[in-house]
Amino acid sequence: MRPKVWDEMYEAGDIRSHYQVFFDSLSQSTSDEFTLKDELAKKLFMNQGITFTVYSDGEGIEKIFPFDIIPRIITAVEWEHIESGIKQRIRALNIFLRDIYHDQFIIKDGIIPASLMHSCPGFLREMVGVDVPFDIYTHISGIDLIRDGDGSFFVLEDNLRTPSGVSYMLENRNMTYRIFPGLLPRNNVRSVKDYPDLLLKNLLGLANRQKSEPTVVMLTPGIYNSAYFEHTTLARLMGIDLVEGRDLVVDNAKVYMKTTAGLKQVDVIYRRVDDEYLDPLIFNRESILGVSGIYYAYRMGNVAIVNAPGNGVADDKAVYPYVPNMIKYYLNEEPILKTVPTYSMDNPDHFSEVFSKIESMVIKKTNESGGYGMLMGHAVTEKEVAAYKLDVEKNPRHFIAQPIINLSSVPCFLTGKVQPRHVDLRPFALYGPQGIEIVPGGLTRVALREGSLVVNSSQGGGSKDTWVLGS
């Protein structure tokens, strides 16, 4: 019997009340009109350069970031639950990061095993004892949520290092008012356009110098990075310089950017370069994306880096099962959002149990992203399972398993027809000196292949506009 899938739009054959207004307008359009809207969306995406770039023969090949025109709608009550749950989670994770890089009480009190921490690739010894401004480590977080068959929200994953996708959230909204004029106000959809302003406010607040206009920059790996569109969009919307590693230089423990008028000191860096490539003097010596000496300037307190280095210890998939315990331990609260039951593959009992019911399990690498390196137990052959099992046996610490959850589905307009596809949701949380703010909505990612549960864009996923309704 097929496991139940929560349909975001339909309930027992009827339209859910919060989709009614949209459904009524949808019924007034013909299939041809919808096709025209879909084509308009593709053209707008292409013309505005909202694409992935695949480089071949020295010339960029543009691939449109797939966008489905039918929005995903969330009620005000549902959003309130999500928002409070994410804020609780972010608070706990920040306290955890502060603790793990200082006194490590959570280890000493036996909540988390020390071996787990010290075997995390994301744990940076270089961050031990380093005080960060306002004790904030996760200034920008993307928390991936899914819904199970009963409609409950689960946290699937925390993204605390360089979460991406917010630019598509902003552009998707811009597409929607072009494709469905008048529908946004009629549905009382809450705005997302404040995100860049909120982020900039937080970044400015992190500057150390007593200066009325601190210099904030965004550090990008450059035009060959698949998320480059997002880097340029955010830099433009915030009015900050988009720099590459070669534009910066460190002198006397301060970071400067090379300008036409000479060197200019930088106060805050919103970096989209991974920890490993940040400073070749400290981390990967072959990195040409980072800046030599930047880590020294950071430890001296002369520049703020967002997100803080070393957050990988908190969003490692092997640490994920302990987050509810962190919430209880640090906040003395019950977790608001559920987490998916998780099995550690370096636990022999878990290992046996998982492979005994592999057809209902998914196994993931703890430090991988983009949907790569996973085994979806229901969609593989015995041979593939056997081969994967060997990999897990070689290094069990680097794998976790979870039961396959049938993600909720939303109608999508594909090849001229409305068809259901599985989705998840990535809201973006901003943590600044004044607290945590979450822009209402986020990025709904959709698995465009029929039956697929993998929503990552690198694996054929697309996105939708996400509407959070006002109360």
Binding site: Q48, G49, T232, R236, M257, K258, T260, A261
Partner: protein, 306 residues
């Protein structure tokens, strides 16, 4: 402004101006080849517009020539190659140009890669294709003018545009002089030169002995009313450069100011005879060399080149 960004917007402008100039020249050449001349020398243009001798190929007709000069991905100096470079430069500085400018270049890129454009150029009516492409070029200039604030980005775009304009005007003049040396109708080639530089109508209105060498050379080099003249363009470079004074290191500014002043003096105050082929050729070489030196010095002082 970041040195790297200044470099990118400068070169974005240079590639866009280069594209515009090439398209205008090729449009004129194509019409010339259809209009009067049965044995139009496309090889001369292919050799002349190739950046390096290895970029040139042997061509037998207009289709092969236009394909090589406009659409070829194997020719480093083709119009397509220039638009790709302009776009890549624009892509890397999207936070410094406006969204409209970026979209304009992006649409230009998609237009030239559109199979319909290629069909027009190679199988149907090339003039329609030229006009469509040139319209995007004009749109780019208008978008820059209307949407960009008059900060450093705009200044470096303007300097790049006019430096490239000087160099390309000289190249096209040189090519037409080569045609004339082959014993062809001199007046006709001066006419084509002026059409390539969008200066023919101006010439007929302002010069009585129309299409005489000394007057054409005078217009191309020294007429400040003519926006594609060398003197007008160099004055614009100086005009925009002076706006950088407040943000420049004084020694850098003085060095550039000296080079520009000297180039302008050499242009204005010389006793060259405009109807002497040898002297004019020398003038072309000297002016081109001076302008390239200005560009290189700008790169060293402002873009961080060593």
């Amino acid at each position: 402004m970041l040195s790297r960004v200044a470099d990118s917007v400068f070169w974005m402008a240079r590639y866009m101006e280069r594209t515009d100039k090439m398209l205008r020249a090729l449009r004129t050449s194509y019409i010339a080849s259809q209009d009067e001349m049965q044995d139009f020398d496309w090889q001369l243009w292919v050799d002349g517009l190739s950046a390096k001798s290895t970029d040139s190929i042997e061509v037998n007709n207009y289709r092969e020539a236009l394909n090589h000069l406009i659409l070829s991905t194997h020719n480093d100096a083709s119009v397509l190659a220039n638009i790709v470079r302009a776009r890549e430069n624009a892509r890397s500085v999207q936070d410094y140009i406006t969204k409209e400018v970026w979209q304009g270049i992006n649409e230009y890129y998609h237009l030239i890669r559109d199979p319909k454009t290629q069909d027009l150029l190679l199988k149907n009516d090339p003039v329609t294709a030229f006009d469509q492409l040139l319209r995007e070029s004009v749109l780019f200039y208008g978008t820059v003018d209307i949407t960009m604030n008059r900060g450093e980005g705009y200044i470096f775009i303007s300097i790049g545009k006019y430096i490239e304009r000087i160099i390309r005007s000289l190249d096209i003049l040189e090519l037409q002089m080569l045609e004339i040396e082959k014993g062809r109708n001199e007046a006709m080639h001066w006419k084509y030169l002026l059409y390539s530089l969008s200066g023919y109508e101006f010439h007929t209105k302002h010069y009585k002995n129309a299409l005489q060498m000394d007057e054409v050379i005078g217009q191309v080099f020294l007429d400040v009313q003519f926006p594609h003249s060398i003197l007008y363009s160099l004055l614009q470079v100086e005009r925009y450069f002076k706006r950088l004074e407040n943000i420049s290191l004084p020694e850098y500014f003085r060095e550039m100011e000296f080079l520009l002043g000297r180039a302008l003096s050499n242009l204005r105050y010389n006793s060259r005879r405009h109807n002497d082929v040898v002297e004019v050729k020398g003038w072309i070489l000297e002016t081109r060399s001076e302008v390239k030196a200005i560009s290189q010095k700008l790169a060293t002082l402002y873009f961080g080149y060593s």
